[in-house]
Amino acid sequence: MTTFTVTDLRHLFASSEGLAGNPAFGPDELDVALADLGYDSLAMLELAAIVQREYGVRMPDDCVIEMTTPRAAIEYINRRLTEVNAA
């Protein structure tokens, strides 16, 4: 089963030019608000679209409400992946 890691998140942020923010956030910044790292709600919708495309998992629009920090985003995406794998 696929596990989504912080490395994957950094990779996604860095791979999309429309997501230029701060992909190099360190271990101490996993609980910093994504908004403070340079990612607004539109950026998180863009991220959701990329996850949908690359991982084949549906990401509802309200995912933005849950993905507030890098750690929350990683956990949210992993939950979505688990649900897909369980289905």
Partner: protein, 409 residues
């Protein structure tokens, strides 16, 4: 209802004639045209081959990196022109109350090129491939919003969509906002529609020139006039209350002393076009007689009927040949929402320099009322300029700018 003490203290220009105000003004004085064969895409199969394209503009060098892929080319132009205008006016928005600074821009097409790119992804790959930024980048108000966010200008913000007339309408609106709590307004226009989708949309009005020769494609007021050339770019102006500008020691280009807008009757109506009435209203508000006007920046549609109507309105008010008329937009093409704002900028630069800038020479004047078309720079120390603009569908606007009072120059 409106304040008559609005002054312009800053100018920012991105145009086919140059990507700075200084470059643009030098091109105008030299009569150096920015028209050429379309190179931004292969226009070989399109009936329009000539356009006014902005040369040497690199968004990545002038627009914050994060915004470049999130916004359209028209917004890139607007962001650069806005930043330049603020610097020119010696304004640091961070030092002023954020709710007392407003942004009003005109737009005719929205983010056309950005939208085309996203539609290509939609049709070739599917809806999941349409980026989230399409939701804001296409929008007419995108430039206003991005300028407002970038500079923290959170006063009344808006967008006006009256095609070519929009470049004047935003300045009328800017002046109005000065009377209701805004101390400084960025007003102007930006448009960039030289992509296949954008060009096809422009073709629908039937007014574009099909002549493939850049020197012959746009000949307003000439017997060979056969349409206009499309242009792209942005012009932004900092508008302030005269007393407030004087208090902070700001340089003043000139005063906005009169503005009026009208709307043409529908085709076939027995009522006359509104241009003459709109000019009279603008002059009346400026408390000027026609004889006080030193130069007219014409709308110069380049279409025989529209040119004749403009010449008739000018003859009615100023007598035939009774006022110097110029159309520097012959060097840029018609820049849609940005065009008239650029004309106002050029008029203010001309007032400062004490010259009437030239228009492309007319070889064979069209029939109709005589015009005193300025074909070479005239050093006649103009003090007052009338700028005219007509937008597709009947939008009409006139704006009067006068040289600053001697003690504030």
């Amino acid at each position: 209802m409106t304040t008559s003490h609005a002054v312009v203290t800053g100018i920012g220009v991105v145009a086919p004639t140059g990507v700075t105000t200084a470059e643009h003004w030098a091109s105008v004085l030299a009569g150096k045209s920015g028209l050429g064969r379309i190179t931004r895409f292969d226009a070989g199969d399109y009936p329009v081959r000539v356009a006014g394209q902005v040369p040497g503009f690199r968004a990545t060098e002038q627009v914050p990196a994060r915004l470049v892929p999130q916004t359209d080319r028209g917004t890139h132009f607007g962001l650069v022109a806005a930043a330049d205008a603020l610097i020119d006016a010696r304004v640091d928005p961070q030092e002023l109350p954020e709710y007392e600074m407003a942004v009003v821009t005109a737009a005719s097409s929205g983010g056309t090129e950005f939208g085309q790119h996203e539609m290509e992804r939609l049709y070739t790959k599917g809806p999941d491939w349409v980026g989230a930024y399409q939701s804001i980048a296409w929008f007419y108000a995108a430039t206003t919003g991005q300028v407002s966010i970038r500079h923290g200008m959170r006063g009344p913000c808006g967008v006006i969509c009256t095609e070519q007339a929009g470049g004047l309408d935003v300045l009328g609106q800017s002046r109005r906002l000065l009377g209701s709590g805004s101390r400084l307004v960025l007003g102007g226009g930006s448009d960039a529609s030289l992509c296949p989708y954008g060009l096809v949309a422009q073709l629908s009005n039937g007014g574009l020139s099909a002549d493939p020769d850049p020197a012959r494609a746009y000949l307003p007021f000439d017997a060979d006039a056969a349409g206009y050339v499309p242009g792209e770019g942005a012009a932004m102006l900092v508008v302030e209350d005269e007393a407030a500008a004087a208090t902070r020691g700001a340089p003043v280009y000139g005063r906005i002393t009169g503005y009026a807008a009208g709307f043409d009757p529908p085709p076939g109506s027995p009522r006359p076009p509104v241009l003459a009435r709109t000019i009279r209203a603008a002059l009346a508000e400026a408390r000027l007689d026609p004889g006080d006007v030193d130069m007219v920046f014409a709308d110069a549609a380049g279409q025989p009927d529209a040119d004749r109507r403009e010449a008739e309105a000018l003859a009615e008010i100023f007598t035939p040949g009774g006022v110097p008329v110029t159309a520097p937009k012959t060097l840029t093409g018609r820049m849609y929402a940005a065009g008239a704002a650029l004309d106002v900028a050029t008029a203010l630069l001309a007032l400062r320099a004490g010259v009437i800038p030239p228009t492309a020479p007319v070889a064979r004047p069209a029939s109709g009322p005589a015009l005193d078309l300025v074909s070479e720079t005239r050093s006649s120390d103009p003090r007052t300029a009338l700028v005219l603009a007509r937008g597709h569908g009947g939008f009409t606007a006139a704006l009067v700018v006068t040289a600053p009072r001697k003690d504030t120059a």
